[in-house]
Symmetry: C2
Subunit: 496 residues, 2 copies
């Protein structure tokens, strides 16, 4: 055994009197760290508790507690009449500059020591702005959402005597009561004919697309989407190995003829639709095309993934019923969420399909995300049952229609030299096509300087197209006015 | 154009006066359905609104509203002075018995019309019991969780003026405030040295294992686990294509020698550990082995996936610090959750790793589950900041220790002829090994008849081993007594 440790223990074991960690634990941790990192090596004799207490200016009891802790974890050994010794082998330390740092202070590594799969496909970053005003890709105004009602329902669930039903593990498919309520809500609002065995709840649209894609797409499979289409869905399909095939979209939605002629030459695995309202152009897929596409899916055996993210708000007639409401052959997987109806932050969605598919989806979901938030689902189920969500939707619809009209009016009067648009029949965004001599990227950057966020993900510049999907739902009337004021200023500066 | 429709409209359009769907909408939906399904074919002349009102005994305004709706969706066309006609093509209908059903009522298909990937690997089902008493695999007692505090914090967040920060989209990595609180909580309790850029929040342990596996495992990669190990983790690794390599586990945890000799012959990609406390046997991985495994990981370049699901409750000393606290080379991916600290139903976990890995994890998570529940994360962050969760853990620890002692005492006095066990140093489960002439599967079934659920997932029967992981955390003292009483009765009946 070597001689007592001579390194400046006081520096190594510097105590932070303001830390939440008790002093004895701080000392134990730091001493373990120095052992791990090879500063104190096996065989080194440590100072006795009395000496340690003196060095560190602590109570002797604290020193004893620290050694007890280190001992309990197996790093040191006390031999009666001899003293306390380091027993444990130390870490193999990295060489170079990190080694030096690590000698006295613990530093978390800056990079992994291993490689891993990196996907260029997923590189499109999520940007979060703190600007006062923001165009979204069609999000609702969360200030309108009945948060007081939700909060009350949530508290009531949390405080309920039998709340352990929601606090433990349960069915992967979701809270049973919520699924029952959701079943009748979807049957009532969307003309579906499903039972609760046809629903699994999800964390939102994204999870629905992901889970379905993992079960449906093999590498090389052809997946048909509109040109343009929802880029995150494309990322998921490509991540699963799909070959993306784009077909034109006109003012009735995706071209049936284009899908038909593709089917004639290529084995299509899946068709991805956003029938209400086509992303990003906001077109409604006509009822006739819905029927034709369903017929094609039966004829050629492809799956229709119907992403009905935007069913909730439709201004002149009721929304056109989903393809899933007419699916007699089990070709449609239907997904939706409460993102637009309530708030994107309330992560609640669903996937509807024949029972054999739901069963397999649940098996996959189980290893990704054991189950959803049963408490939130219970609260939402109760709000559905009481009609609160339905009442909110009615109220919100009027407000959004006014906002749409205001926005379109301003586009007409103030932007006629810069862009054209179509009044969308529903949804929370307007599709605008801009003069190609306006640099939208530059406009987006300039707007941010004036506290208006126009994210790049809303800009669509492909070939001759120079367009913006202008989500307005989150902006009230005065904010719409302000935002378009800023936008006009910036566009005028960038035109000439 | 053919003559007016002669089919019994009144039957087809039977109105449900108790439905939440307005009558005009019911009529519109059903008529659309009959058109879709080819009962009403293009060219058919529909009764006028006056006639329809009479047939169905409704107000004429309701009939007008129904036709307006059907017209708005494009299914019919009204020609002045001629009448209203079906315009839309119908669905191609399946043949056989379904066809007949579909003629008059809409039925949702029982099965998909397409095939999909089915994984035998994931076939282990999740069972949910409604029995009064239940052994879990080591879950906490949710009745002890500070739900009043959580409920208050949650309501306060929901009602806050600036709650739109939590209700919209934000960073994939999680609520920033929560990540800050979590960072200092983990640094304080687990001796980590991380910044908030090293954390992404997850929905729990499962999601952490899944995301990491998707980035790390290529088909054919060798993943080392203990024999025995956590079966859901194995399912995830195998789903990713891994080759599972088991190494022995003794009373110090996974055998380092076995890992070392495997490394000598095989390129190991990843080592999966549950150091506190090994699943299912509840052994603590010794500090010395932690260091040795870390050294091996640097030497052979394998990743350590440290699943510290059970760090919270350790009864005699503080828990042994995680491998992640000593990782200077970026070889450890550390995952944990609040499942044991609070409740499994509160889906909140985290993954800790060097920043470059967190960035890639976030990109993948984004397409699966856009973001976590920012409101719940805010509430949890505030509870961490106020020390509520820490206080709860201290209180709960004492209770669980008493429960452990009670259970082990009863095992000693009442079950000495049937099983052996080791008093676990921590965690919420006891590992029991049973006489091989006791049919555990039968015992499990018999127990359920007496309202005690002993799920099959807790039974480990391999070769000579006949064991039960007996989770007791969820049972109070009287429930432990009752449960073991039932168990003893059943075992005695099944012994002889």
């Amino acid at each position: 055994m070597s001689s007592p440790v001579e390194i400046p223990l006081k520096n190594i074991l510097a105590i932070d009197r303001f830390s939440e960690t008790p002093v004895y634990m701080q000392i134990a941790r730091k001493m373990i760290n120095t052992i791990q990192h090879g500063v104190l090596v096996p065989g080194v004799k440590l100072p006795g508790t009395r000496a340690l207490a003196e060095i560190l200016q602590i109570h002797r009891k604290t020193a004893v507690a620290a050694y007890t802790e280190i001992d309990a974890q197996g790093w040191i050994e006390t031999i009666p009449n001899k003293g306390t010794f380091v027993t444990m082998k130390s870490l193999v330390m990295p060489s170079g500059p990190l080694r030096q740092k690590l000698d006295y202070t613990a530093v978390y590594p800056e990079k992994t020591g291993f490689t891993f799969r990196q996907s260029m496909l997923l590189d499109r970053s999520v940007s979060v702005s703190k600007a006062e005003l923001e165009f979204t890709d069609g999000l609702p105004d969360v200030r309108l959402a009945p948060m007081d009602k939700l909060s009350k329902a949530y508290s009531s669930v949390l405080k309920r005597k039998n709340n352990n039903r929601y606090l433990g593990y349960s069915h992967v498919e979701g809270n049973e009561y919520f699924r029952e309520q959701l079943t009748s809500y979807l049957n009532n609002t969307r003309g579906l004919h499903i039972g609760k065995e046809n629903i699994m709840t999800t964390r939102g649209i994204q999870m629905g697309i992901y889970l379905a894609s993992m079960l449906l797409i093999e590498p090389g499979d052809h997946v048909v989407v509109g040109d343009l289409s929802y880029y995150v869905a494309n990322m998921i399909f490509q991540q699963a190995g799909a070959n993306i095939r784009s077909v034109p979209v006109d003012d009735q939605g995706i071209s049936v003829e284009a899908v038909r002629s593709l089917c004639a030459t290529t084995r299509i695995r899946m068709l991805y639709l956003t029938p209400h309202h086509h992303y990003p152009t906001t077109v409604t897929l006509s009822a006739e095309r819905r029927i034709e596409l369903l017929n094609l899916s039966v004829q050629y055996g492809f799956v229709i993934l119907e992403d009905d993210y935007d069913y909730d708000f439709h201004y002149h007639s009721s929304p056109v019923l989903p393809l899933a409401s007419a699916d007699a052959s089990g070709m449609v997987v239907y997904i939706g969420s409460f993102c637009k109806a309530l708030a994107p932050g309330l992560r609640s969605g669903y996937i509807v399909a024949p029972q054999n598919f739901i069963a397999e989806l649940a098996k996959l979901r189980r290893i990704i995300d054991r189950q959803g938030d049963l408490m939130m689902e219970q609260a939402l189920g109760e709000l559905l049952n009481e009609g609160e969500i339905q009442r909110h939707l009615k109220k919100a619809q009027k407000i959004y229609q006014e906002r749409r009209d205001l926005l379109c009016g301003l586009l007409k009067s103030e932007f006629k030299n810069y862009c054209t648009y179509t009044v969308p029949p529903g949804g929370l965004a307007v599709w605008t096509e801009w003069e190609t001599d306006i640099n939208l990227l530059k406009v987006s950057k300039e707007c941010l300087k004036k506290d208006l966020y126009l994210p790049q993900t809303l800009l669509f510049q492909t070939g001759k197209l120079s367009a913006v999907r202008m989500g307005f739902g989150n902006l009230n009337e005065s904010e719409i006015g302000k935002s378009l004021g800023i936008l006009k200023q910036v566009v005028e500066m960038n035109k000439k």
